[in-house]
């Protein structure tokens, strides 16, 4: 149909590299044969953009790269490209994401399957360029899917899977792959690069503009004014909103299926929605999201070695929120301590905690829960921090009386 859809020669490549999360994301974009990349650099995402520019300059990735004047244009360029049939990619964070917000809001409503990495960063102010989930959490209600990664390998695998999820005809929604600024963006680790042919086979032919297109052969007005209080009435608007909600809920099933297929094809099984770690016989649990999970798992191992019956539940898919999977993962525990790397202003707790207690409303029994906030502005969340979380949650399991939010790095 158009130039961007021309098939590309597959490059046979199956090797092991040592790279950081930003490079892993760039590898994933290259393996996903993205057609159009639009970028504007921002800390801590900048090196990701540089890797992409290099991959394109080296001829490894056959894509158009557009370096525009700001993030608002980034997403506007990609919306046009997507409407023309292209597979698209960008990455941003913090203030860049804020500047992108207008087209960001429009993307899910138009059901455009863009994939964007958020290299998470705490939002201003206080001034900071360090990691934290506040940027991604602040856009959680817009309608994009959100998957938080724990490791460099998971960044690579999830970014490729994100295309299959976003472009699924039952979903057709943009997806954010979130990896922690500093810890995953610059932390190098061993990473397996899957074979190009196998990835192309896994993703299949792109078909992103079957429902809305900029195409002279299929003339249409894109996103015209729908009725509100007057004219044709609000029913058109409501119909599209409900459709978007259905697509979002369909994503839960599709995410699970795509992760299972990824495991079958590439041998790496990542928990699609929530991961249960040492939850067998756990009397109480802690919950984590993102790269902090590694230290938390170590703390759980040490506690288990001491005889504490604690387990861990990691949330990978945060939007759509995996209510059923979470409730079943936490079934039977006497208390849960939820660790957030961001703040829900107005609730004086973390957003993951807030979503968790909302989900637990549908649990058969009432499970006391407590909010812990740590790792803001790049602060390290160590095994010692999680020992405190485990200790406090153990008390909660005993007395069932949750206290105010605990700020973990308050005295660091």
């Amino acid at each position: 149909m158009s130039a961007v859809l021309a098939p590309k020669p597959a490059q046979a490549e199956a090797k092991i590299v040592v790279c950081d999360g930003n490079e892993a994301a760039a590898w994933a974009v290259s393996l996903a044969n993205v057609d159009m990349v639009a970028v504007y650099p921002i800390t801590p995402q900048s090196s990701l953009v540089e890797y992409l520019a290099k991959f394109i300059a080296d001829g490894r990735l056959n894509a158009e790269i557009v370096d525009v004047e700001g993030e608002h244009s980034v997403l506007s360029v990609l919306q046009g490209a997507c409407l023309a049939g292209a597979r698209t990619y960008t990455a941003s964070c913090g203030p860049g994401l804020a500047f992108m917000f207008e087209p960001y809001m429009r993307t899910p409503g138009m059901r455009l399957p863009l994939v964007m990495t958020i290299v998470t960063r705490d939002t201003l102010t206080p001034q900071s360029v360090w990691g934290g989930h506040q940027d991604a959490m602040s856009v959680r209600e817009v309608g994009w899917g959100q998957m938080y990664c724990e490791s460099v390998q998971e960044v690579l695998d999830t970014t490729i899977m994100a295309y299959k999820i976003a472009e699924h005809h039952d979903v057709m929604l943009p997806v954010n792959v979130c990896h922690d600024g500093n810890y995953l963006s610059f932390g190098a680790a061993r990473c397996e690069l899957p074979d190009q042919g196998e990835v192309s086979d896994f993703l299949g032919e792109r078909d992103v503009n079957w429902h809305v297109a900029l195409d002279p052969q299929r003339p249409m007005a894109v996103d015209p004014l729908t009725g509100g209080a007057s004219g044709v009435g609000p029913s058109t608007f409501v119909r599209y909103r409900k459709g978007q909600c259905s697509g979002t809920q369909n994503a839960l099933k599709v995410i699970t299926e795509v992760h299972a297929e990824w495991g079958r094809r590439f041998g790496r099984y990542h928990a699609p929605l929530v991961e249960s770690y040492r939850m067998d016989g756990a009397e109480y649990a802690i919950m984590t999201i993102g790269s902090m999970t590694g230290a938390a798992k170590d703390a759980v191992d040490e506690a288990r070695a001491r005889g504490d019956k604690v387990g861990l539940v990691k949330v990978k898919t945060y939007r759509p929120f995996p209510v059923e999977a979470l409730v079943s993962a936490l079934a039977g525990v006497k208390a849960v301590g939820v660790v957030d790397r961001s703040v829900s202003f107005g609730w004086n707790c973390g957003p993951l905690f807030q979503d968790t207690i909302a989900a637990l409303y549908s649990a058969p029994t009432r499970i006391p829960a407590m909010s812990f906030i740590g790792g803001l502005a790049g602060a390290d969340l160590t095994v010692e921090h999680f020992e405190r979380v485990i200790g406090r949650t153990r008390e909660l399991a005993r007395d069932g009386r949750p206290a105010e939010t605990v700020w973990l790095n308050e005295k660091d």
């Binding site: 455009l112 429902h211 003339p219 249409m220 015209p224 119909r239 459709g243």
Partner: protein, 96 residues
């Protein structure tokens, strides 16, 4: 209305709760919602074409001795009346 080069896309082939699209052209023109219209004083008009130059919707049409307006496309913005060096154009309320 000008004929389209291609037939419009048949929207019934896709679910109607995805992206809002429109595949039927609506014939509404600015003249359908304009609240004021320009009127030329033919005695004052010297055909300098300043109104023709400034009109944002290019609705000014040339007559033998004066300039007039295509009221189907005129949106009633009044730029012509403001710019006319001869003060030959007046904006009047559209009748309800």
């Amino acid at each position: 209305m000008r004929q389209q080069a291609y037939k419009m896309f048949d929207a019934s082939t896709i679910p109607d709760d995805l992206c809002p699209i429109a595949t039927k052209p609506t014939p509404m023109l600015p003249g359908d919602w304009r609240s004021m219209r320009p009127v030329v004083d033919r005695a004052k008009c010297v055909k300098c074409a300043v109104c023709w130059l400034y009109c944002p919707v290019q609705c000014v049409v040339e007559k033998s001795a004066w300039f007039d307006f295509n009221l189907k496309t005129c949106k009633g913005c009044g730029i012509c009346a403001t710019e006319c060096p001869q003060r030959a154009i007046k904006m009047i309320e559209e009748a309800a």
